[in-house]
Symmetry: C2
Subunit: 200 residues, 2 copies
């Protein structure tokens, strides 16, 4: 199973992190993002969106980190990480939407601007970031995990860009419930880091 | 089962449309959006995000239209609309992320600015809209439906804001595959319209 990957991408890290938790080996295919390889014909054929990660498992080709998490959980991860019961699965799903929307347009975009020189309104990204971080922190004041009262793919979808938020000058120091939740996730068997969130 | 609803909201319409397709009755609770009722304590208790739709089914309370679609499909809609097979479910999931991200920040936001006077960069919304519409149109040039080769909750999540895109001055006339797909969806048993997309 191939993951078209960039070490510095939080979206790719979502997939590597979850695959590591469920001990599913991935063949990493590095994509030269800085040279725009993801916008070239070969990768556009796999993902017309021109984005990574891309997962290739036999004939199955998937884009979008959240969809890849759902696939891996269904096929290799099992009930623990992606509950089948309707209200629990929907609870997880709420957070996959947050990962695709609020996190993308908050800490992710702030980092693209500050670390990679993308164009965009950084102050708007900060505003978006602090709005969603406050909601998440409040949620975690009463919950150890984002959804279903246990570690799920929700946590794998939300953690990455929060763990590297400082690279976009988003400061998480005051969100103590988020920080406790991060420590809990980092203690799970199989946890791996990415460049930017390694502990000293 | 209660839906906290606004007739003019495309996100609420996603839920009403799908519930109608699967013949699941909803008790509609109108929310006075213009008066900011969704930001008041009673509704913030149900959804701290301060947004609608909100679904209440007994003890289950859900925010986020995509998560509500997953819940309704699992509980009342069945396999047809939300496949259980890993690669098909992930295929649908790819489009739920598009609904939460690219559609939200394209045609949805363009309409919020033009129809409801929200602040924002309309020209950026137009650029986002035409980028995602071109990708969707190209996908539909080879597919009758967005995912899994049949009508799924993907279609219910993506159709609403495209069907009212003109209210945000997003012009879809040139996307002929999208227009054909819309006609197919509108022919399905149980289809209902919303203000702004009624046929004359």
């Amino acid at each position: 199973m191939k993951l078209y990957d960039l070490a510095l991408s939080g979206n790719c890290y979502k997939v590597r992190l979850f695959a590591s938790f469920i001990q599913t080996p991935l063949e990493i295919v590095p994509v030269n993002f800085m040279e725009g390889e993801h916008k070239e014909a070969k990768l556009l054929q796999l993902n017309p969106w021109g984005e990574i990660p891309i997962l290739k498992d036999g004939d199955v080709i998937l884009r979008d980190a959240q969809a890849i998490l759902v696939y891996l959980a269904n096929k290799y991860g099992g009930e623990a990480w992606w509950p089948s019961e309707a209200h629990l699965q929907a609870d997880v799903m709420q957070w996959l939407s947050v990962a695709a929307n609020e996190i993308q347009h908050g800490p992710n975009k702030a980092r693209l601007i500050k670390k990679f020189g993308f164009e965009g309104d950084h102050s708007q990204c900060l505003e978006n970031s602090y709005q969603i971080l406050a909601l998440i922190d409040n949620h975690l004041s009463n919950n150890n995990w984002l959804a279903a009262n246990r570690p799920t793919i929700s946590d794998c979808a939300i953690y990455p860009y929060i763990s590297i938020a400082h690279e976009g000058e988003v400061i998480i120091d005051n969100y103590k419930h988020i920080k406790s939740w991060m420590r809990r996730l980092e203690q799970l068997t199989g946890y791996i880091s990415m460049p930017g969130n390694e502990k000293l």
